[in-house]
Symmetry: C2
Subunit: 339 residues, 2 copies
């Protein structure tokens, strides 16, 4: 699903967050305590949100750097090698001597379609002072965009502060409430969030209302995208110019009008946008200037669906790519492929 | 618990069987399907019966070689490195390019004291032709003893046939009935077996009767040891000279007389032997010449017991050491430490 990379100069992006190794063990049936069973198959894959998203970005044609931590154990070596093979620059990673790399064992039961995850965090955990000023400056040099998955949040905050001073745009993946998220959101130019996040974070009565709330609460934010699984995604984007003098449109009515424009009977993914620079209001929240864009998801037959692991991260990679290439409004269309 | 190695020439032993990496993940409670949990601790350890036993033998002062198979993945590299660091010669290992190394994920629930094992066999499996004649000959050169854990049984049988022609004694670890076990037992000079094995293999009415049965059925066998957990172990040893003209003693009576000689109130491990060269009989089975030796296990307080994983393999390592050093009748005493 990844387009081939353009061969000219590749835009640099920097990500800070989680890397991991995933061991996916397929079993005939989920074990009971004290059982001794054999797996039917094993798949070893690099993982971690930042690792996945930057791998996706690299495959699309960006030149990503990663700030994260692993150990010099066997798992850590395979994490670094896999990232490097995919074109992710790992020279700003902290590699601990001893301890263990982050690692997730996933028991895949294909009969009951369950995936049980046992995550072992990296040890010792990353301390922000492990990222030296020199390395931070070098990692940010020439970078067009910075991305956080809200892991290693103390280190992430140092990176965000420096990036913000340098006016480098920041993308935050707001999957769920985590320690340090609010601090990072204050720096965010772009937010991509999970279906439940906007309401969870704002307490709003619906997702569209919550999106307006987020843009009002986070003044640096240029857009927020919420992914909605099989329903596709929504993007609320702030105008550069103020539309305060035009008539107000209620955000829920606006979404309804977009939904009516889309041919939902088609299995192909569609993308529809409202007019630009509308005054969009939400009951009891306020109003802002911008436009709403809706993408539907392609209806993929279940027998063609192999594995949705990392689909959200791949989406982030595509958003990084689109923004870095200056076509941020194309982002929404990548949803079609990735959700 | 391992004695330090003598500094003179180290006796060479060759083992053929299983190597593995064990990932022991301690969890707060055993997961339900589709849960996403974090482990509290992770321990990564080399494993596999042959890997463990030969590591024990090396620590006691032998110079072990191993025939087994791993992949050149991260796990395989750590398997090889750990064995090499312990002084096990891995130059006769087959290392596959691609595939995966044998690997066991163990979910340790300390509250309910359960250990749930998911074993992923190595892939692709070892083919006997992967051990070349040249390597087999080189691996056997100068070796004083060969050991099998009854894994990779087709390869093991090739090694056993060649070792037998060269009159190199063979030790078989008979943990349970497995494919190829009977073929290997026919070559065995020494057998160490688990508590339930003698009766399971012979169908005899008691363990002592089953031991007599094993020595009658396997004419090359010099002794059989059965480990009995907290009850210690039993060894039935064949005499070099025939005692057919002396009176017959029933093996169950003989064991009872040994049990009476031992001070069971002591928490220290004890070892008692019958007279040598008795004529020992078992009802409905027959009789043989030899002696019976009983070892009790040290009574270790549960708070001092850290982990019994690999205890049986360490016992094998000690038996290899004792026989190779020409003091095979001391073997029984190692039980005191290892069971």
């Amino acid at each position: 699903a990844f387009a081939s990379a353009p061969q000219q100069s590749k835009p640099l992006v920097l990500g800070c967050g989680a890397v991991s190794v995933d061991y996916l063990a397929t079993v005939a049936s989920f074990p009971n305590p004290d059982d001794k069973i054999r797996s039917l198959a094993l798949k070893v894959e690099g993982g971690g949100n930042a690792g996945n998203a930057l791998t996706g970005a690299a495959r699309l044609g960006l030149s990503p750097r990663i700030i994260s931590k692993a150990s010099n154990d066997a798992l850590g070596k395979s994490i670094l090698k896999e990232l490097q093979d995919d074109g992710v620059d790992t020279s700003y990673m902290t590699v601990a001597d001893g301890g263990n790399s982050p690692f997730t064992y996933i028991i895949v039961d294909n009969q009951t379609k369950t995936r049980t995850c046992i995550h072992t965090p990296g040890y010792p955990p990353m301390k922000p002072e492990e990222l030296t000023k020199e390395n931070l400056f070098a990692a940010l040099h020439g970078v067009e965009m910075v991305y956080f998955d809200v892991r290693l949040h103390e280190t992430a905050l140092l990176v965000a502060e420096e990036a913000s001073q340098r006016k480098i745009p920041i993308l935050v993946d707001a999957e769920k409430k985590r320690e340090g998220l609010d601090d990072l959101l204050n720096f965010a130019s772009y937010v991509v969030c999970s279906a439940k996040f906007p309401q969870a974070w704002t307490g709003a009565s619906s997702t569209p209302v919550a999106l307006v709330h987020m843009l009002l609460r986070l003044p640096n934010l240029k857009f927020v995208i919420v992914t909605r699984g099989e329903k596709g995604c929504l993007m609320l984007e702030r105008s550069m110019t103020d539309a305060s003098e035009t008539e107000e449109t209620d955000v829920e009515d606006l979404l309804e009008s977009l939904e009516q424009k889309v041919d939902l009977s088609s299995s192909m993914a569609k993308c529809v946008a409202s007019k630009s620079n509308l005054r969009i209001s939400a009951d009891g929240v306020g109003s802002m200037s911008g436009r709403l864009i809706m993408g539907t998801a392609e209806d993929i037959p279940s027998e063609e669906l192999i594995d949705t692991t990392g689909a959200g991260d791949a989406f982030i990679g595509a958003v990084l790519y689109d923004i870095s290439c200056g076509k941020q409004y194309a982002s929404i269309c990548h949803v079609l492929v990735f959700t």
